[in-house]
Amino acid sequence: MQNVDAISTDFIEPTKNYLNNGTTLKSWLLTKDHKRIAIMYLITVSLFFLAGGLYAATIRLELLTPESDLLNTQTYNKVFTTHGVLMIFFFLIPAIPAVLGNFFLPIMIGAKDLALPRINLLSLYIYWIAGLFAIWALLQGGVDTGWTFYAPYSTTFSNTYVMAVGLAVFINGFSSILTGLNFIVTVHTMRAPGMTWFRLPLFVWAHYAVALVMILGTPVIAITVLLLALERFAHIGIFDPAIGGDPILFQHMFWFYSHPAVYIMILPGMGVVSELISNFSRKKIFGYEFIAFSSIAIAVFGFLVWGHHMFVSGQSVYAGMVFSFLTMVVAVPSAIKMFNWTATLYKGSVSFDTPMLYALGFMGLFLIGGLTGLFLGSMGLVVHLTDTYFVVAHFHYVMVGGQVIAYLGGIHYWWPKMTGRMYSEFWGKISAMLVFVGFNLTFFPQFILGYMGMPRRYAAYPPEFQVLNIFSTAGASVLGIGLLLPVVYLTHSLIAGRRAGDNPWMLPGLEWRIPSPPPTENFDSTPVVTWEAYEFGEDSGLDLEEARRRDLVTVT
């Protein structure tokens, strides 16, 4: 067990890394290497994001005019349902955990691989099967129930492919269960010598919290969707009121998972941002323990607040009270994170590389997303706001402004490590700004629309809402460009990007102390961790002088 030398100055690609270790298709499809699995996830997830994005674009175009002229209502319903299903179940939930988590969680704790590589591969295949199932159902004619599948419309009245899509969601659930299971085991048993719990990067803490939610929540949506399918196929009278069922029960069981799932969609983003903020202000993150435990707190409290989706659904007023109260409580940990991130910048050495721009964008957007969450937790107000565009705007601020931005930030941050190539910093900055501006242009008007009372899931709307919808659509086009740019320059960097070297930013994390791209088993010998998390000082063992000389060499 000897120390890994901090940086390697040679710029020849390592003779053997996870990418060139076997190039046949078989070597990819049967790999047990978490990095390769992560790359395959990256590709699939991006494709689903693209598809979901196209549907989103269609929605915005349709909403340019008050009438439902571009799409008829039937198509529109299918389009927004598909947008929701693809984005939530096939992009947002797997995005950061299955791609960045899969790739970096083992490296960050100094392990050769996840604890259960076969399970990891299995989860990828389950995800693929579920995805194909969903696509097949969509090609067959799609589904028009909204991603929430509310009974009794979904159980009895919709004559679209509810069962097929439901089963796709059911199958996909197990993929994320297995991922979460794998993370928990890995964090418990695979930590390198010296990598104590409080030396773990916050990215790992966040993923531990997410894994908890995945394991405890996902099975419930699985059984719920199963019952939904049964209700359609055999009229079991559990959700369908016409035969003695209870539609509200469906909402309870659905949100028992789907609210915590919202935290599956934001906690990993918070993890990434904690990394970025700390590393790009080259300073130990402020209040490490508080951020770590607030992640766990969010995961736990997240299970106690699902009823705030049901304030007007006919739920008991008293239940509403309890849920509203706990919703307010769960706001606190998020606030703690915000404050600590801000405090981390104080007296740092802040550099504005592309990933940092995304991180700062995240802070701005998540701030709005989180605060508008309070609007929707306050019962009196939610009676007016729920099921309007205010809700749509809110969760896009959290999901897109949170998870997607963080995902892009993470991709840019770790791209040099994953591919060994550096992307164009210029275009990176441009796209980061375009995304930020475009996003706000798209979704801020929707807050106003919402308070004016424009209901969601409307193909046609009263004319007085048109102006703001035009703003929104215009912004969406900017956002679209901002999101497409990375696809171009990142792909380009694969061919023409300059070699990044092992540690372009001279960061202390374990992943920056191994060659890029990393070798198949990450470390040639198990590392011994002697430094705290985010240790930039002497103890980090980084040779900064060496790095400065390196930069002089590689000025191009």
Binding site: Q315, S316, Y318, A319
Partner: protein, 116 residues
């Protein structure tokens, strides 16, 4: 790795050593059989004079006892690391959350003038 993980491994060491001898297993088995017979017999008695639902409560108590035996001895939880205990307890805690928070809606539906 080992020295770092010593704390996690304390219980682990014994795992190679057999936990309980044959009589132990048979004893647990006996408890389970008795429990089963007990459940059946008490189920036939009308215990509502104690309080309504006493039967169900008793049946559940017995079931929990049997479950505990199986988990502690057959599933070797008794000799497992704290984490295993934790996960076992946690899962039931979360089950309780699901039951309690769903029922708090249904049980308070009637209350108040305006319960929908």
């Amino acid at each position: 790795m080992a020295e770092i993980h010593k704390d996690d491994h304390v219980h682990h060491m014994e795992e190679h050593a057999p936990h309980i001898a044959m009589p132990g297993y048979l004893g647990v088995f006996g408890i389970l059989v008795v429990g089963t017979i007990l459940t059946y017999t008490v189920a036939l008695q009308d215990l509502d004079f104690i309080f309504p639902g006493a039967n169900t409560l008793l049946a559940l108590l017995i079931a929990f006892t049997k479950m505990t035996c199986v988990m502690l001895f057959f599933m070797h939880v008794k000799w497992s690391p704290k984490l295993i205990w934790l996960s076992a307890v946690a899962s039931f805690f979360w089950l309780a959350i699901m039951f309690a928070f769903t029922m708090q809606d249904y049980l308070t539906r009637g209350m108040g003038v305006f319960s929908t």
